[in-house]
């Protein structure tokens, strides 16, 4: 009874960063909550996965089976439900990732536990978790509490928690059998598809001029394209531009697009959804132009211009052409 579960997310034989971030946070919360920290690992050929987790949890609970080689929400849910009902952790952490989005809500329903999603931070107050979230696309912060319950579920936003480098505590590895009698899964994975690389590789660019929703209309893209060309920069964009099919996907910066690491990232009309900000964490200098002074992009930019891009772009062009 008590303690924390962290559901290990891994892909193609590697533990994903979100897992280590959750373990860092859980290590901190464990002192306030009491009990052990358990990393729950479902996978196949888990040797190297176990090694990357060692030292970061009191216990690694491993179910090694070919049926959980890849993530399957339905199978994960049934197994986790059994484990949680057996061990009774007070809190279970899952990543706010494509997989977590498919897993956490159904697990919460089956367990009857409150679920708080997309947390930037979690604290324990009077024995109960409270969470810091963002709403309205990151424009407003919310501190939320949860209804009294024997257990809680929370999903954690990737990149929100800084990694604790330590990993030297003793870790017990406990192997469990894949449970028998699970019903046949209603969903079957056919394949994982990697995005193809194209002639424009924004991930390699030294200087990116990046455009977002603030560009307004498709025809205005020409202005940004011209600016990028004149500056000798590569053109990239945020998700709404690709959603509208104004630029192909390989221009997209962010968690579902590419992570970039230019020397300079000039963001024009990008508000800065967290998925986008995660993709520019490796950028040297971020310069953001956005007419909303509260746009989340200004929280990561070194330089900001709180003005309309349609005033700034022509001013830039004029000075470039005058030289």
């Amino acid at each position: 009874m008590g303690g924390i579960f962290v559901v290990v997310e891994h892909r193609q034989g590697k533990v994903r960063d979100i897992t280590l971030e959750m373990l860092s946070k859980a290590g901190e919360l464990k002192n306030d909550l009491g009990g052990d920290l358990t990393a729950v690992l479902l996978g196949w050929e888990t040797g190297s996965l176990i090694e990357s987790l060692r030292g970061r949890a009191d216990r690694i609970l491993v179910i090694e089976d070919e049926r959980v080689k890849n993530f399957q929400a339905e199978v994960y849910q049934l197994i986790l439900q059994q484990l949680i009902q057996e061990v009774h952790p007070s809190l279970t952490l899952i990543g706010q990732t494509a997989w977590g989005l498919d897993l956490a809500p159904c697990l919460a329903v089956q367990l009857g536990f409150p679920l708080v999603t997309d947390c930037l931070d979690i604290k324990i107050e009077a024995g109960k978790p409270t969470a810091l979230r963002q709403i309205y696309g990151g424009k407003v912060f919310a501190r939320v509490s949860l209804k009294e319950s024997p257990g809680y579920l929370a999903t954690i936003r990737p990149g929100a928690i800084s990694l604790d480098p330590s990993g030297d505590g003793p870790t017990e590895v406990v192997k469990k059998e894949f449970p028998s009698g699970l019903p046949e899964s209603k969903k079957q994975l056919l394949e994982l598809i990697e995005s193809e690389s194209r002639e424009v590789d924004i991930a390699q660019a030294e200087f990116l001029v990046s455009v977002g929703r603030g560009v307004g209309e498709e025809e205005n893209l020409a202005l940004v394209r011209e600016l990028a060309h004149s500056l000798g920069a590569v053109l990239s964009c945020s998700r709404p531009i690709v959603d509208k099919k104004w630029l192909p996907k390989y221009h997209q910066v962010g968690t579902s697009g590419k992570s970039v690491k230019p020397k300079v990232y000039l963001a024009l009309g990008i508000s800065g959804a967290f998925q986008h900000l995660a993709g520019i964490s490796g950028a040297g200098t971020v310069i953001a132009v956005n007419k909303d002074p509260r746009a989340p992009i200004f929280r990561v930019a070194q330089y900001g211009v709180a003005q309309d891009i349609f005033k700034i772009i022509p001013a830039l062009m004029e000075q470039i052409n005058n030289k």
Partner: protein, 259 residues
């Protein structure tokens, strides 16, 4: 294929300078314009496209007040056959409560597929769709970017992080949460909305659904909302556009990306 689409009317906040109400529990929505949740717009478009490929109906459902019927009329104008509004009365529902209420209403409607948006623009939770799937005992997939119908099943493409996608086979009936960019939602003219006024829009009262008050008690409670600091952390470049442009070019030069 009979498809149900769950939609939500949300305030449009992309371009707005938001304010928090005095009690710090809600954003001041007084001056905000309302729109269909962006993710739901892609979901209703996808449903109409799937219906146009074969036979079947599309039903749009929302939980909300009378003014929220605006998004249902929009769905009807896009091609949905009928719509239902669940009137919550004075009740405020959180994500979990929303899923329970939707589940009870949808259980009484024949369907093969339910589409929801991945998340709502206002509270950014991303939980209602998959909770609804669980309450109805359905197969489910999240963050879907492609749907191909097959006999009794679907081939779905889901977006993972890092530019990777997953293709899966999923049995019907199922629920999918739809990601933006899956299609290009059609334009909806005022004329089309007027024409769709004749289509069926049924109102169901939450009070008639026989929930115990405890069933719908919120599980997640907002303690406090607050705004981030303006321009948090950035060194702000002020002055007129010419001065700002000059400064930007100077920084580019300093950082070595421009001669």
């Amino acid at each position: 294929m009979n498809i149900i689409v769950c939609v939500k009317r949300v305030p449009s906040t992309q371009e707005e300078d938001l304010k928090i109400e005095a009690a710090k529990k809600e954003v001041d929505r007084e001056s905000l314009a309302y729109v269909i949740n962006e993710w739901d717009n892609y979901a209703i478009e996808e449903a109409v496209r799937l219906m146009e490929q074969g036979v079947g109906t599309v039903t749009a459902i929302t939980i909300g007040q009378e003014e929220d019927e605006e998004v249902l009329r929009r769905c009807l104008a896009m091609g949905a056959d009928q719509a239902r509004r669940i009137d919550p009365g004075g009740r405020t529902l959180d994500g979990h409560g929303t899923a329970r209420v939707l589940a009870r209403v949808i259980a009484g409607i024949p369907f093969d597929l339910i589409l929801c948006g991945v998340q709502a623009e206002d509270d950014n939770q991303g939980m209602v769709g998959i909770m609804l799937a669980e309450y109805l005992g359905l197969a489910h997939a999240a963050v879907v970017t492609g749907i191909e119908p097959r006999e009794g099943e679907l081939i779905v493409q889901c977006e993972l992080e890092g530019g990777m996608d997953e293709r899966s086979k999923i049995k019907l009936p199922a629920l999918l949460t739809v990601q933006t960019g899956i299609n290009e939602p059609r334009y909806v003219s005022i004329m089309k909305i007027k024409k769709a006024a004749k289509k069926l829009l049924e109102v169901i009262r939450l009070a008639d659904l026989n929930f115990c008050p405890d069933d719908l008690a919120p599980q997640v409670l907002v303690e406090e909302l607050f705004l981030p600091p303006e321009t948090g952390g950035s060194e702000m470049i002020t002055g007129d556009p010419t001065q700002a442009a000059e400064k930007i070019l100077q920084i580019l030069k300093e950082k070595g990306v421009r001669a």
